[in-house]
């Protein structure tokens, strides 16, 4: 049942993007996420498309894998588009039938919303496709380190994340085992309505919970045996080093988004849609 579940969507490769420092990738992803909200025209989205294509090419991840990430938010996308089409009012009425009115502005707005949301997901998935969860954890720990000054237990949080990541596969196996054991004793998980099926999962959750606690206790013993006592005096084996790739990658992304900001950021603040003309559309 859970055989196919692989956690994270890391796509192993040796590409330019894969070899970049996880911290840099994380920060650039933030720049991208913010930057994309400045883009207001289809021309701008065309440029973003080009940018994404270059990024995907440099990461050597098949386009199909990248697009797969959008599948997860398809439902959300669909709703956003529908809502925007039907509830945006404008000047150019295209269709009027019963209480439904569709305006050209609605279609345009929905289209832009669709692009913006899916590009958000696609951009972030390039990060997760090229960076292992472990690297991401390290990057987060390293980037959030300044917060230890205000007593945020950054190291502990990172360790919790890392432990959770390493426990997920064994918990999945455990769930699988419990399901099989219960099926062998005649439990039925596949028929009946939603409520009946949900109820059938209770006998799975309880043993899973119990075994998780047992696991946690054993893990605590194992960690204590290996002299764990929190972040104090702790050293780290992994060294994160910046390479020419990080500087090149950062330069490209920054130049691109500075350009985006100059074109849209300043004009949307100072001008109106009419003044912007084709840039706005």
């Amino acid at each position: 049942m859970f055989r196919d579940v692989t956690f994270g969507q890391y796509y192993p490769s040796d590409s330019f993007v894969h070899k970049m420092d996880a911290r840099v990738k994380l920060l650039l992803n933030l720049v991208y996420l913010v930057g994309i909200f400045f883009v207001v025209s289809f021309v701008g989205f065309a440029w973003i498309t080009l940018f994404l294509l270059v990024a995907i090419l440099a990461s050597r991840v098949p386009v199909r894998n990248v697009l797969k990430s959008v599948k997860g938010v398809l439902f959300l996308l669909f709703f956003t588009v529908i809502l925007n089409i039907f509830f945006t009012k404008g000047d150019n009425l295209l269709v009027k039938w019963w209480i439904i009115e569709i305006y050209a502005e609605g279609l345009i707005f929905a289209g832009k919303m669709f692009l913006r949301l899916s590009y958000l997901v696609i951009g972030s998935s390039i990060l997760t496709l090229t960076t292992t969860p472990v690297d991401l954890t390290h990057a987060l720990e390293s980037l959030l380190k300044p917060l230890t000054w205000i007593k945020v237990p950054v190291h502990d949080l990172a360790l919790i994340m890392s432990l959770a990541l390493s426990l997920i596969p064994s918990l999945i196996n455990e769930t699988d085992r419990i399901i099989r054991a219960q099926k062998a004793r005649g439990a039925d998980f596949d028929t009946g309505g939603l409520i009946k099926r949900a109820k059938a999962f209770v006998p799975i959750l309880i043993p899973l919970l119990v075994s998780s606690f047992r696991r946690a206790e054993e893990l605590a013993f194992a960690m204590n045996s290996r002299c764990y006592e929190g972040a104090t005096h702790r050293t780290c084996m992994r060294v994160m080093k910046l390479s020419w790739r990080d500087f090149l990658g950062t330069s490209v992304v920054l130049v691109f988004f500075v350009a985006v900001f100059i074109v849209y950021g300043t004009q949307t603040t100072w001008g109106t849609a009419e003044q912007l003309g084709w840039l706005y559309f």
Partner: protein, 285 residues
């Protein structure tokens, strides 16, 4: 010279009763034990006999309620030396999945030295050394989830080795493995004992595994029943039976053959060797 010495050690577990009171359940009781530096000691007994409690007493995970545990001249009830003791007594547990801290092999092995505050360059050296010792150098960058049980346990051993301990305690570390995995782990442990002169304490309920040991300690109901060389212990077969343990089958067979008048070595531990001997005798007749 002994590296670990237990003097009249007792430990009990607090068990909640139905009303809010507690009862005490004996873990181990009045244990006296000396473990020689560089020796290979097997600790046997059936489930619930106190083996694992004893293991946890050895590196200060549990502190005895009475008596003393001395490790390399330090006592486990002294809070100041607890980290020194734990880095001296590496511990490998039963379930390989429950002792992995991260999902990358080399990072998991580095966990111990990182906690000890070892400088970064030395950690890398220690990790490579430990991986080589358990014969898994090529797995350094792999994820732990895709490894077999035996491989995971070897990684766990490497994780303990990276702290440069003098003693390695294996708390039923072979119990959940298939025969191949058990073999891998035992080979690694025996070679560490021979080549690195590491003191090994192997806790098990497989009697076959105690054969290579210098000393066997038998436990029952939290008490030490007997100790001695494997052959000495196997010769007390009635005592073993009383505590629910069995002499390894090969030895059992050799002994029966011997008592039936066959000219075989009654302490033969190798099934193939015994088989060959029997064939030879049959052929001669």
């Amino acid at each position: 010279m002994h590296i670990i010495k237990l003097t009249d050690v007792s430990y009990s577990y607090k068990v909640p009763a139905e009303d809010d009171s507690y009862t005490w359940q004996v873990g181990v009781k009045n244990i006296d034990l000396e473990i020689e530096q560089g020796s290979f000691v097997a600790l046997v007994g059936h489930n619930g006999c106190g083996k694992s409690t004893l293991a946890k007493l050895l590196n200060g995970l549990f502190v005895p309620h009475s008596g003393k545990v001395e490790v390399a001249g330090m006592f486990t009830d002294d809070n100041k030396s607890i980290f020194n003791i734990r880095s001296n007594v590496g511990m490998v547990f039963q379930n390989p999945d429950n002792q992995m801290v991260t999902s990358i092999v080399e990072e998991d092995i580095a966990f111990g030295p990182e906690n000890l505050g070892v400088p970064q360059k030395e950690i890398v050296e220690r990790v490579h050394w430990a991986l080589a010792k358990v014969g898994m150098s090529e797995f350094a960058r792999r994820t732990t989830t895709r490894l077999s049980g035996g491989q995971k346990q070897r990684i766990a051993i490497a994780g303990a080795l990276a702290m440069h301990p003098q003693v390695l305690v294996l708390d039923e570390s072979t119990a959940m493995l298939d025969p191949q995995g058990r073999k891998e782990v035992l080979e690694v442990v025996h070679s560490l004992n021979k080549e690195e002169k590491m003191t090994v304490i192997l806790i098990t309920h497989f009697m076959e595994e105690v054969l290579g040991a210098d000393k066997v300690v038998v436990m029952n109901h939290g008490c030490k029943v007997t100790e001695g060389t494997p052959m000495e212990v196997f010769s007390r077969s009635r005592l073993l039976e009383e505590v629910g343990l069995k002499v390894p089958r090969t030895i059992e067979l050799a002994r029966r053959l011997k008592s039936a008048g066959w000219n075989v070595d009654e302490n033969c531990t190798d099934a193939t060797e015994l088989g060959d001997r029997v064939c030879q005798l049959l052929h001669n007749n």
